[in-house]
C-alpha cells in the first residue's frame, strides 16, 4: 500500500509540524508514504467563494499529483471533503474519480483503513475537542448532535488511546467555530464572535489544549486565544496522537 500525503497549503506554510506529525504517524503504522512535491491546494478557497469555475487548473494539477496512489491521506477534514465532493478532470476523469473514492482524512484512515487499535502516545493534559463541521457533518467522522442516532466518534476513538489525556465535555459539543474559509474575513464580526464563544466554552471547562482535525479552525481560535493572552494552546490531533 502506497499512500500519498496531501498537505493543505496553510499547513505547509504555517504549521509544518502538523504535517510532520501526520507523516510520522503513518510511518509508525508501517505505511509507505510519498509526498508529491508539486502539490499546492485543493481549490476550496476559490470554490467556497463562488468561483468553482476558476478551479480547473488547480483540479488538473491535483489529479496529476495524486492520481497514481492507492490512498491519499490528508490531515484536514475540510480539504478532504472538498476533493471528495468536487474534484473533476477534463481528460483524466478516471483518475479524478479514483482520488475522490480513495482520499481519506487522517483519523478516519487510521480507524477505518489501518484499523489502529493502540498508539504509543502520551499527552497528560486536559484537552477539549473541536469538531470541524466539514469533518463531522461532511465526512461523518462523528455523530452529529442534531440527529436522533447512536453516538460514535472516530477522533475520540483515537484520542482515548493516548495515555494520560483527560478529555473535557463542552456545553455545545459541535457548534461551528466561525472560521468558514473566506467567511473569516468577509464576515469578520460574526466570525470573531463565533470564535470567541467557542473558545470560551473550552476555557470554561478547563481545557489546557484545544485539538481537532482541521488546522484552519484551530488557527482561527489560536488567533483569538493569543489576542486574549490566554495560556490555552491549540494542537492538531496528529500532534497529540504522535506525542510521547
Amino acid at each position: 500500500m502506497i499512500v500519498a500525503l496531501f498537505v493543505p497549503c496553510y499547513i505547509d506554510q504555517f504549521y509544518p509540524q502538523v504535517a510532520i506529525a501526520t507523516l510520522e504517524l503513518l510511518e509508525k503504522a508501517g505505511v509507505e508514504v510519498v509526498y508529491p512535491s508539486r502539490q499546492t491546494c485543493c481549490g476550496q478557497p476559490m470554490a467556497n467563494s463562488g468561483f468553482e469555475h476558476l478551479t480547473h487548473d488547480c483540479d488538473e494539477l491535483f489529479t496529476d499529483n495524486f492520481g497514481d496512489y492507492d490512498y491519499i491521506v490528508c490531515p484536514s477534514g475540510s480539504c478532504t471533503l472538498h476533493i471528495k465532493d468536487h474534484l473533476h478532470s477534463s481528460d483524466k476523469e478516471d483518475k479524478a474519480d479514483h482520488i475522490r473514492r480513495h482520499i481519506y482524512e487522517l483519523t478516519e484512515f487510521m480507524t477505518d483503513i489501518l484499523q489502529v487499535k493502540q498508539l504509543n502516545a502520551r499527552f497528560p493534559h486536559k484537552v477539549g475537542v473541536h469538531q470541524s463541521c466539514h469533518g463531522q457533518r461532511g465526512l461523518k467522522l462523528s455523530q452529529m448532535s442534531e440527529l436522533v442516532a447512536p453516538p460514535f466518534s472516530k477522533p475520540l476513538q483515537l484520542l482515548k488511546m493516548v495515555e494520560g489525556i483527560e478529555l473535557i465535555d463542552l456545553d455545545r459539543q459541535d457548534e461551528c467555530c466561525g472560521f468558514g474559509g473566506t467567511f473569516c474575513v468577509a464576515e469578520e464580526a460574526v466570525s470573531v464572535k463565533m470564535g470567541k464563544d467557542r473558545v470560551a466554552d473550552h476555557i470554561r471547562h478547563g481545557a489546557e489544549y484545544i485539538t481537532g482535525g482541521d488546522m484552519s479552525c484551530l488557527m482561527h481560535m489560536e488567533g483569538i486565544l493569543r489576542r486574549q493572552n490566554s495560556p490555552v494552546q491549540v494542537k492538531h490531533i496528529a500532534e497529540i496522537l504522535n506525542s510521547h
Binding site: R38, G43, S49, C58, M219
Partner: protein, 457 residues
C-alpha cells in the same frame, strides 16, 4: 457581492456592537434548539419521520399543478372562493378588492410570512385600510415599525424592557413594568377589542390538503381562530407550495412542525378550515411570486419543501449572532438565504455568503432540504452571473494562478513568511480584517515542503 449599506456583513457588524445583547440572542435561540433536540429525541422514529415528510414533499413538487387543480376543485365545492395571484402586487390587489367590496376599512391579521413577503400591510395602509397584527410578537414589532426578525419568534431581537417601553408608549401601560405576564395581559385586552370589532380577518396557511380542499392554520396564541371565527370574511393567503396530497399526511407534518420549531409536541391549536361559517365568507389566495421560477431551478427547487418551522434559524450559529434584520429580507436565516436570491440576485447576493457552510441547518430541517449545499450552489451561480465585486474577482484569479503553479506557490509562500517575520506591520494592521480581533499565526522558519526535502529521501 453587493456593496450597499444593507449588506449582511455590515448589518451584522452593527448588531455585534452590543456584545451582551448578542450573547443573550445567541443563548436564547440556542435554548430553543436544545428544546427541539429534546422533543426530537422523544420520538425514536424521528429520522424516519423526516424522511417520510421529505418524500411526501418530493411527490408534491413533482405533481404540483395537478394537486393545485384538485385543491381548487374541492375547496370550491366546500364553498371557499379560490383566487390566483402571480405576484405580491396581484395578491395585495385581490385582498384590497375583497375588503372594498364589503366596505371594510379595518382588518385583523394573524401571522403570515407571505404577506410580509408581499408587503401587504404597507399597501393596505396606503389604500386607507387599517391592519392590526394579532400575533403578540408581530404586534410588538408592528408598533415599533420594524419587520419581524424571525419567522416563528418575530420579536426575538427585543428584550422585555423594549417591549415595556413600546407598550407604555402605545398602550399606556405602567412605565418600567417589564413583567412578561403583565405585558401579555395588556396585549390580550388591547387585541380582544380588535377581534370583537373587526369584520375581516386574514390568516396564513400552514398546510392545504388537495384531497379535501381544507387548509390548516397552526398557532399557540389562538389569534388566527379568534380573528377568523368572529369575522364576516376570512381571507387565507397561501404560497402555493403549502399544498399536501392527502389529509392523513397531516399526521406526519404536525408531528414534525412544532417539535422542530419550539420543541412543543404540537402547537396549541391546529385548526382545519374546510367550509365557511354559516353566514360568513371564506377566501383563499394562491400566490406564485417567484415560486414557479424556483421550481424550475433544479438545484434550488427543494427549497420549496419548506414548512416554515424556523429550526434552521435557531441552529444557525451565524443567525444567532447576526440577528434577523441583518438578512434584509422577509424570511431571514439559512432558508431565507436560499429563497431570496431567486427573487432578486443583485439585492440578495450577500446572503448565500452569510454562512460558514457548517451544515447544521440541513440536519435539523424536518423536510430534509439540503440548505447548506444550496448555499454553496447559489454562490457559484451568483459569481458566475457577475454579482461579485471586481476586487474579489481579481483576488480569486490571483489565488487561482498561485495555487495552480507550484513554483510560484512555493516562492509566494516563502516571500509571505519572510514578510511576516521581517515586516509584520504589512500584515498585522487594521486593514487586514483577520488581524482586527485575531493574531496571525507565527511564521515557521521553513515550510513542510522544505523540511521534507531535507529530511526524507
Amino acid at each position: 457581492m453587493s456593496h450597499s449599506d444593507k449588506d449582511h456583513p455590515k448589518l451584522a457588524e452593527q448588531f455585534n456592537a452590543d456584545e451582551p445583547r448578542v450573547d443573550w440572542h445567541d443563548e436564547t435561540l440556542w435554548w430553543v434548539r436544545v428544546k427541539r433536540d429534546k422533543a426530537a429525541r422523544s420520538i425514536p422514529e424521528w429520522e424516519q419521520l423526516r424522511e417520510t415528510a421529505s418524500r411526501i414533499k418530493n411527490n408534491v413538487l413533482a405533481n404540483l399543478s395537478e394537486y393545485l387543480i384538485q385543491f381548487e376543485e374541492q375547496a370550491t365545492r366546500n364553498g371557499i372562493t379560490v383566487h390566483w395571484a402571480k405576484d405580491g402586487k396581484e395578491h395585495n390587489a385581490i385582498v384590497l378588492g375583497l375588503l372594498q367590496k364589503h366596505g371594510i376599512d379595518r382588518m385583523v391579521k394573524s401571522k403570515s410570512m407571505l404577506t410580509e413577503e408581499c408587503h401587504l400591510n404597507d399597501y393596505l395602509q396606503q389604500h386607507g385600510i387599517e391592519v392590526i397584527d394579532t400575533d403578540l410578537g408581530e404586534r410588538i414589532v408592528q408598533m415599533r415599525k420594524e419587520p419581524p426578525s424571525h419567522i416563528v419568534l418575530p420579536a426575538i431581537h427585543l428584550k422585555k424592557q423594549d417591549v415595556s417601553d413600546t407598550f407604555h408608549e402605545h398602550l399606556q401601560t405602567e412605565k418600567g413594568n417589564n413583567d412578561p405576564q403583565f405585558l401579555t395581559q395588556a396585549a390580550r385586552i388591547h387585541l380582544r377589542e380588535k377581534f370583537l370589532t373587526r369584520r375581516a380577518a386574514l390568516t396564513g396557511v400552514n398546510f392545504a390538503v388537495a384531497e379535501t380542499g381544507e387548509f390548516v392554520v397552526c398557532t399557540n396564541e389562538g389569534n388566527a381562530d379568534m380573528g377568523a371565527h368572529l369575522a364576516d370574511i376570512h381571507i387565507a393567503s397561501m404560497g402555493f407550495e403549502k399544498i399536501i396530497p392527502q389529509r392523513r399526511h397531516l399526521s406526519v407534518f404536525l408531528r414534525l412542525l412544532a417539535r422542530s420549531a419550539t420543541g412543543q409536541p404540537i402547537t396549541t391549536y391546529s385548526s382545519h378550515f374546510k367550509k365557511p361559517r354559516k353566514g360568513a365568507e371564506m377566501h383563499i389566495v394562491l400566490v406564485d411570486n417567484g415560486r414557479s421560477t424556483q421550481l424550475g431551478r433544479k438545484d434550488f427547487r427543494n427549497s420549496l419543501k419548506c414548512i416554515r418551522c424556523g429550526a434552521c434559524f435557531n441552529t444557525c450559529p451565524v443567525y444567532r449572532r447576526s440577528g434577523g434584520h441583518s438578512y434584509h429580507t422577509a424570511i431571514a436565516g439559512p432558508i431565507g438565504s436560499i429563497l431570496a436570491p431567486n427573487l432578486d440576485m443583485r439585492k440578495y447576493a450577500d446572503l448565500p455568503f452569510a454562512s460558514t457552510l457548517c451544515g447544521s441547518c440541513s440536519n435539523v430541517c424536518p423536510v430534509k432540504i439540503d440548505i447548506h449545499d444550496q448555499l454553496y450552489k447559489w454562490r457559484q451561480v451568483l459569481m458566475k452571473e457577475g454579482y461579485g465585486s471586481t476586487i474579489k474577482k481579481m483576488g480569486m484569479k490571483g489565488m487561482t494562478f498561485t495555487l495552480s503553479h507550484p513554483g510560484f506557490y512555493q516562492f509566494a509562500g516563502k516571500a509571505g513568511r519572510w514578510a511576516m517575520k521581517a515586516a509584520p506591520f504589512i500584515i498585522n494592521n487594521k486593514l487586514n480584517p483577520w488581524y482586527k480581533q485575531r493574531d496571525m499565526p507565527s511564521p515557521p522558519k521553513e515550510s513542510f515542503g522544505e523540511w521534507y526535502k531535507k529530511n526524507r529521501k
